[in-house]
Symmetry: C2
Subunit: 248 residues, 2 copies
DNA sequence: ACAAAAGTGTTTTTTATACACCCATGC
DNA sequence: GCATGGGTGTATAAAAAACACTTTTGT
């Protein structure tokens, strides 16, 4: 809410030199362990100061000639091998003082973080452990204190995930190729919390949308009647794109 | 979709030096002229190369010690005086080659644009014309070719505005302090297009939400029965925050 | 046989949609 | 008095929510 002395301040700031930035990309990579109903996020252990031996989001600084998204894909590829993934930009965190490295040369180089949000299939994702770096899937329910402002970034990513689930079919990017309807339901409850909807109503709504096709293949998980395996039919979904589309 | 030779590429890129960035902030500032039912966006005329004499979004480069949001508020304050405004981050555009200035020193300084999305009240917003710079409210229906990738940024902002209208009470940030229910309806139709809903149903739903209070003050606009002026009651809205909340 | 999980159907309540109609004012 | 925009109500259709019930398996 700009006041009256706004122009004086503006005039003063006009003398201020421009900030020089290094731009980092940090990925919030989610995945869901359907067998244990846990939402997981990929963390790596920092090998340098600052925040040596703290867990943090996998990130990198952007190189010359590299786009932001390229950088996001690069770190992802360095940490995990996946067949399929969903990736979109999350938010840009860029206040001064968000990175302690800035303190050394006070008004010198600033560090900006463009965060990306990714979803991968837990079963298909193969972590690349390179002896030196620690890397692990962490349940979002039990996160440690992370380096920098990464807890904040992660919380933002978590909120985005919850919202996305409600109006876009991202769930099928995280689920295995073939899944039971109960898998979908479990995914929704683990991310959105209990009592977001009754199973049978959820099921009916989902099927009525018409983009899941029954493979007729049955799987039996312990006792009880075997469940049908379904597949996401991208072609059948296409016309529903940009439509309101509500799952909850 | 990382392949097999991914690691080789990564190893190669590891030799690549980091990019140095200048970070710009560009604002997509919307406002609605209720009298003419037009959605407007604030544009300024560029005074330098590149894109001399092209219209563009009001923007600035981030200075030392200044946060991204501070920079966004700064340009806003340089261009318009407003009592009330809504501002949020939009998206970060950052591929190489988005700014022709990068071409001069090829792999040197990169220009990144963090865009912000703002809403102001048309009646209260006073444009600051400083003789040199051209500045104007442009109807989004008739936009010129803008400098840089600003048409793209603006389109993104427009999409965000449409979405925000549907599930958050941003409309009341753009409307005058007191407004008729028809003003709200007109705002929604100008942004969302015709036939998004019947007026009387829209009205009923809106009132049932219970955060609009009738001031009982009547205004007569030409012929017809005078309309009641309403006010947005922030306190009454508070409990509805984060709730699904659908207007459409 | 019975517990457990999958899958179907039915009833009730709520919400959306499409109108018809009354009200207050200017001309 | 009648056109014009403001405001209310009602009848119908559709969707959400709650829950009872059937089916198919393992043990």
């Amino acid at each position: 809410m700009p006041g009256h002395n706004q122009r004086k301040i503006a005039a003063l700031l006009n003398q201020q030199p421009l900030a020089d930035f290094k731009v980092g990309v940090d990925n919030v990579i989610f995945s869901v362990d359907t067998t244990q109903n846990r939402l997981l996020v990929l963390l790596v252990m920092r090998q340098q100061e600052p925040f040596l031996n703290y867990w943090c989001l996998p990130g990198t600084l952007v190189r010359q000639g590299e786009s932001l998204e390229d950088a996001a894909y690069r770190i992802l590829a360095e940490k995990i091998r996946v067949k399929n993934l969903y990736l979109e930009q999350l938010y840009t965190f860029g206040g001064p003082d968000r990175d302690p490295r800035e303190a050394f040369d006070s008004f010198g180089v600033r560090y900006l973080s463009v965060s990306y949000f990714a979803l991968v299939r837990f079963e298909e994702a193969e972590l690349i452990a390179d002896k030196v770096t620690g890397i692990a899937w962490y349940p979002v329910k039990q996160l440690p204190k992370l380096a920098f402002d990464h807890n904040e970034i992660l919380a933002y990513g978590h909120r985005r995930l919850r919202n996305k689930l409600e109006y876009s079919p991202v769930a099928f990017e995280v689920l295995p190729e073939m899944f039971t309807l109960n898998d979908v339901y479990q995914l929704y409850t683990t991310v959105l919390g209990e009592n977001f909807s009754d199973y049978s109503n959820f099921r009916a709504r989902l099927l009525k949308l018409g983009f899941l096709c029954d493979t007729k293949i049955k799987v039996s998980r312990g006792a009880g009647r075997p469940a049908s395996l379904y597949k996401f039919d991208a072609a059948a979904f296409a016309p529903l794109k940009d439509k309101p589309l509500v799952f909850i």
